[in-house]
Symmetry: C2
């Protein structure tokens, strides 16, 4: 059990900096501030010092009050050499949950450092759904090591879970469920629970099932405890009840939990029979991962990029989208090349043209991001697509007119050529409209083609805005100015 | 209680399209596919048809099986005119939860459409924490209408919650808690729960408190039900136990729930006395909002942008960052202007220079996004900052060298000037390194200055990459080529 210590009681084992948020954040000697729930630099230093001295007892004392998630964070922040030393000195106290909490990129490294008997011990303590999460991304040989460490029943359970598709509800669910026949009363259920030896660690509902194991409703434990013994369970079922097919994509599962504020939901096989249960904490992790993926994909960074990736992996993950961007940039340069004669006659065009492209690119990214988010949250549908598109184009006209006018003024002041002002003003307006259209049509088209719009929209949208921007500006200039 | 209907039983009331994910997604007549949990176009059409005919009973039949969150989504997808008609015909069946689920931008609109007696009815059914969430963003007069609709006790509770800072744990928590003295046994607790008349709708833990109401531990209901009556509650407390200060920022609350896999956590006042409880479903909503904010801010879209914003609001929300971008673009153009003489002598420079800036901008955005995410998830700290910076610069050198070499080849083939190839190759390398440095140093500096890096990094990073890109390319060209 961990608790906030009083500020006055900052012993060496008080590793987590829990500044009282009503007071000023604590200041480190180097002037940085630490937020809540953050290991302080001082704490990390004392852990590393302990590793230097090789004092295992002291290391246990320091790490014992930490949550496995915090120990995992600590390991992620160390360099590989220190990480290895901490894990080795930590020895048999190493908790399996630390493995579950670790960044996927580091799991293999840590597993290879752990002594076999420590690994066996660590893995046996885990719930089977955590083992599934742990092994699914490991290489074959390491997978075998972990599976071999399990007891037979657990190994069968894990292998069964692994037989469901990657990223499906079947991988996410726990197989231990608390179910009761739908004709039972409160008294029957309470007696059953009190007699059970093997209830799951965490459960929130009793799932009512019919004789063919089809889930029929959820009863919360709170309702059960506060109702008379003779009340039928069917009188207590929750109003909101969602049943999850075992093959459903985990992103859809997370959406359902978020949309319907579910706490737990039964999972059924293709015959609608109860096979497991998914709880909100699992859904929250998926939601978090989906967001991470979206945000990184929008920026053209490969999935699951993390600070623990090697330099080489990180460079490769980003090179793909940089390569696509290079091609679109060359395409835009080909447009400029068409007008090299025009630029030759008026260098001011070369000076101003990046402004048009930059503004168009930014406006396009804005619309694209709003569109990608609206698609992810399912707020943008066939029903309102036309209306949203009209709205975005209107926004493009408004901002295009505003910034076109501003740039026209800047151009007159800068170069003193009124027609140049007209050209850049009109080009800005046109590019903003193109950005709005591209920013909404491209993600929607990709979504319909079942391509993740977060992943692929960026290059297309910037190609549109670059090409339209240069074409409009230099084309108009060629017509009007020369 | 709602359930998946069989595919064969698609009655008119089966509004939610629950395609069996093992089969192909259903195809609409217009060729679009519908995912799980999505209102189909057909369903919306039948609702609108019912509104046209003014058949209130039929509207109730159609909407009754829907979750309030789905009805809110439906309203969000209609235009303002249809929305008004649906709400008016829906009449007294309108559920207060629909208001809670609605996009903030639409709440005021719907509240002004609702008849006063319907509003009073709708609001009285809500839990007080939902009322708080509802009224905190409303204008003063509408706030009053809602507060006046509440019973006195609820009104006091809501006003007390509103006295905590916006976005604090105090706004998020529910005030109804289930607490027990720490010296109680399982039997005491069970008897207490069975006698209680007024238990909260949802609760997962009994909070153990000392005589001064300081929370000391959580006992899950599952453990309570499966333990003998004479077991002391202190023997059953959860290993992980976090106490949330009432003034803590909701983002930190969400972080704690996500990091420590909490289900519920007690909230304490400045004297560490229990004043409420926060549950994981509230934390999940906050986490979702934080992500949304991050993703939109990174793209330069104002917070809380949604498809329901008016054209005018949307244009304003985006104009701010477009204005900042215009200034940085002009700054970059000033750099180009310094070299207009150089460009005049070699137009190929004007053709190629946007490629250097575009690649630098993209590489910078990649690094910046990874950095902003790592700061948000607290994976980037004072401990590993130097290491991460070195890694990013190394990635910049690798990708800069790769794409510099590619562009050098392209430039030779295109313009046949070997020295131009050397210039663009070196400029690309330099810009990539600058992008890596800017992409990590700028967000970290903003974070230390307590400015949200997601909001402000973009303009700074692109300024760095544009200026360095143009300066390196044109400056080198002026030295080497002319």
């Amino acid at each position: 059990m961990r608790e906030d210590n009083d500020q006055s009681d900052l012993s060496q084992t008080d590793l987590l900096d829990r500044a009282d948020p009503t007071t000023e954040p604590q200041m480190n000697p180097d002037g940085t501030t630490e937020g809540d729930y953050e290991l302080s630099r001082r704490d990390v230093a004392s852990i590393l010092y302990t590793v230097d001295t090789g004092d295992q007892q002291q290391l246990w004392t320091l790490l014992d009050p930490l949550h496995p998630a915090d120990i995992a964070d600590l390991l992620e922040q160390l360099n590989a050499y220190d990480r290895r030393r901490v894990v080795q000195l930590y020895g048999r106290e190493f908790d399996g949950d630390i493995l579950s909490e670790l960044d996927e990129g580091l799991r293999e490294e840590i597993i290879s450092v752990l002594q076999p008997e420590v690994l066996v011990e660590a893995v046996r303590d885990l719930e089977t759904d955590d083992v599934v999460d742990l092994v699914e991304d490991l290489d074959e040989p390491q997978q075998e090591v972990i599976l071999d460490a399990l007891e037979d029943a657990d190994r069968v359970a894990v292998e069964q879970a692994l037989s469901y598709p990657d990223g499906s509800a079947g991988r996410l669910m726990q197989r231990e469920v608390v179910a009761a026949p739908e004709h039972w009363t409160v008294g029957n259920a309470i007696d059953f629970l009190r007699k059970s030896r093997d209830l799951p660690e965490q459960f929130y509902h009793i799932i009512l099932v019919d004789p063919r194991m089809h889930p029929k409703g959820n009863v919360t434990l709170g309702k059960l405890m506060s109702s008379r013994r003779d009340v039928p369970l069917t009188d207590l079922v929750e109003e909101v009840f969602e049943v999850i097919p075992v093959t459903q994509d985990e992103a859809d599962v997370a959406y359902a939990f978020n949309q319907y504020h579910l706490i737990s939901a039964p999972v059924v096989d293709e015959n609608d029979r109860l096979v497991g249960v998914i709880t909100i904490d699992d859904a929250m992790i998926v939601l978090d991962e989906e967001h991470e993926e979206d945000i990184l994909r929008l920026a053209g960074v490969a999935d699951e990029a993390s600070l623990s990736d090697s330099i080489w992996d990180a460079a490769k993950g980003r090179a793909v989208w940089l390569g696509v961007n290079l091609m679109t940039a060359i395409l835009a340069s080909l447009v400029i090349d068409m007008f090299s004669g025009t630029i030759d006659q008026m260098v001011a065009l070369a000076v101003l043209m990046p402004i048009v492209a930059s503004m168009g690119g930014n406006a396009g990214t804005q619309t694209m991001t709003v569109t990608v988010r609206a698609l992810a949250t399912r707020d943008l549908t066939a029903q309102n697509a036309m209306r949203v598109m009209l709205r975005e184009v209107s926004v493009g006209v408004l901002n295009g007119a505003l910034f076109g006018a501003i740039m026209a003024g800047v151009a007159v002041l800068w170069f003193g050529v009124p027609m140049l002002a007209l050209v850049i003003g009109l080009a800005m307006l046109g590019t903003h409209v193109a950005a709005a259209l591209g920013g909404i049509v491209i993600p929607m088209a990709l979504d319909r083609a079942n391509i993740d719009p977060a992943l692929a929209s960026g290059p297309f949208v910037t190609t549109v805005t670059d090409v339209v921007g240069f074409l409009a500006f230099l084309g108009l200039a060629a017509k009007v100015l020369l």
